[in-house]
Symmetry: C2
Subunit: 341 residues, 2 copies
């Protein structure tokens, strides 16, 4: 009711894995990532940045499947997307995985979108059809040259700019629980595309915050809950600028977000590391969720997490044509199964 | 089982509408489209081709909602996509519609992907949550300049090339039937991304045909059916080149596709109209299905249609980097409710 998407049976995230680049490995949670490039070049042995991103994503999916003791043929579907034009990175990874594939585009909200659609797809099904992989990735070097400038150019960045994360996250979803450290996909809600009039591609936090407010307000109203009913409200990725706007806008609507965290602020020490407003990119929330938040949930330190994947639905062309940047925010309510102990 | 996606309750396409450009209106089914630009310029009153495509898509969605006597606020979700980088056309249409939005990327298979995911999303739900809009669009002028050359350039096209359709299709899906002329979404299957080694962006039919074979073989095996059990096997859009490959490959696997049609061959008289191998683009199968196939189903002339949306998962960059073009084919089994009479 009221836009709430709820699997009828339980849908569980039975394993998750992350990939990351060198900048991310130097950050505050740098030790948690499963997949990285030993050479420190973020090339993952490939000759183009797009192939490097694809290799990182494919390795991350393999790592998640490995943790669940599964292979690609045990999976009924793969849902995912990335930032690269026509989602070619994910498509190439889908070729390697061999599972039926549904391509998504949600910009930086893709991890949440894929978990939500994957949960509905496998809900209640058995066998292979009851398992899917949801994944998302981004690479700083493939994204920056497409959306802004090649990194070699060394373009100046304003303080509102976010840093596209080199990272990936993959989640194995199953209609059957695997154990007491699963994460339950309790419910969720798709966001509405909200145009707040922001036209600056280096200020995506301002473009995404109003959409986040819209989704959270609709969620709290539909569920008759309030922010303090959850262990954490985790947005990804509003950065410092967008997070402040979110907290202020929510406060003006009567909601105190005292338990708010943002994946873009978790992944970097953004001021010390010259990352301006913080991290962004499909891989940011995917990697932070998989390898930082989930361990906290599995240990029972976090019980209920509202994960709100946020995206800026723009292209270089739409910005050049003077279009505003619509924001979107997809919400997934995740529960730790550890609390049942 | 075996990759079959089947709504538990019935999911019905209670209305559908199409938009088209001037070339499409001059074609063999030119009189069936709901939305077009009176001026014959395909600009739909806008100043850029991307805005023109968005306007055509938005008008088409409005037309489909209007036929079902609904508005945007009666809809629980909007699923759709287009060919333009970062799917900005569909995102902009989602802002106008105001419904929760899940962006998809399936290249020319997007219509099938959106119908399939939309059916699962609303399956069995009541009220607004039991209704969604699935849609897809493409515009020759926005796509050609992005993927190949601006149309003003007049670039030569090889005989294998397809012509990106200016068109859109929108489908109102409901968990509750509206009448005896509904189309039932019986079941479906997501395609696998198949790399057949084709690297020529002007020969997408060859890239997509092997993926179509893969999906059809898996479908016939999983359902224990054969091509002649259906009124029509409708691919969209393999064109002349891809259709011939499909028929030959299927024949070599023991399947006779005597009831095959292709949306890319239906929309144009491809030889007389200088459209080379036929039409393509997300809007091609969407518009042909909505306004040509559905009336035939509603009248009972076609009872069972296997609609196989086909896509070439490439970008100009992936082609320039020498990557092969993976194909994909999503299948939707559609049934006419008229046969119940």
């Amino acid at each position: 009711m009221g836009g709430i998407i709820k699997p009828r049976g339980g849908v569980y995230i039975i394993s998750a894995a992350s990939g990351a680049g060198e900048h991310e490995r130097r950050g505050p949670i740098g030790t948690v990532f499963d997949v990285y490039d030993d050479t420190g070049t973020d090339r993952f042995g490939q000759k183009s940045w797009e192939e490097a991103e694809c290799r990182m994503l494919s390795l991350t999916i393999s790592a998640a499947l490995g943790k669940a003791k599964l292979t690609g043929s045990d999976i009924g579907a793969f849902l995912g997307g990335d930032l690269i034009n026509q989602c070619t990175v994910t498509a190439r990874a889908a070729v390697g995985l061999g599972a039926p594939f549904a391509g998504l585009f949600g910009a930086c909200s893709t991890a949440a979108e894929s978990i939500l659609l994957g949960s509905i797809l496998i809900d209640g099904k058995s066998g292979t059809d009851g398992r899917c992989v949801a994944a998302a990735s981004s690479h700083n070097c493939s994204a920056e040259r497409q959306f802004r400038y090649p990194v070699e150019y060394g373009g100046q960045r304003p303080p509102t700019a976010q840093w596209t994360v080199t990272g990936a996250g993959a989640f194995v979803l199953s209609a059957q629980p695997a154990g007491c450290d699963d994460i339950l996909v309790e419910a969720g809600m798709f966001g509405r595309a909200i145009d707040a009039g922001i036209k600056d591609a280096t200020d995506m936090g301002s473009a995404m915050a109003p959409a986040t407010v819209d989704t959270l307000e609709r969620w709290f109203e539909a569920t008759s809950t309030k922010p303090s009913d959850y262990s954490m409200i985790l947005t990804g990725d509003l950065g410092a600028v967008g997070s402040e706007i979110l907290i202020n806008l929510m406060y003006s609507q009567g909601y105190k977000l005292e338990n708010h965290s943002d994946c873009g602020l978790i992944i970097y020490d953004h001021q010390a590391e010259d990352k301006h407003s913080g991290g962004s990119g499909c891989g940011c929330s995917a990697a932070v969720l998989a390898s930082h938040i989930f361990p906290l949930m599995r240990s029972g330190l976090l019980r209920d997490v509202l994960f709100v994947g946020t995206g800026a639905l723009m292209s270089p062309l739409s910005v050049a044509q003077g279009e505003a940047i619509p924001g979107i925010a997809h919400l997934v309510h995740l529960k730790s199964c550890a609390e049942r102990k």
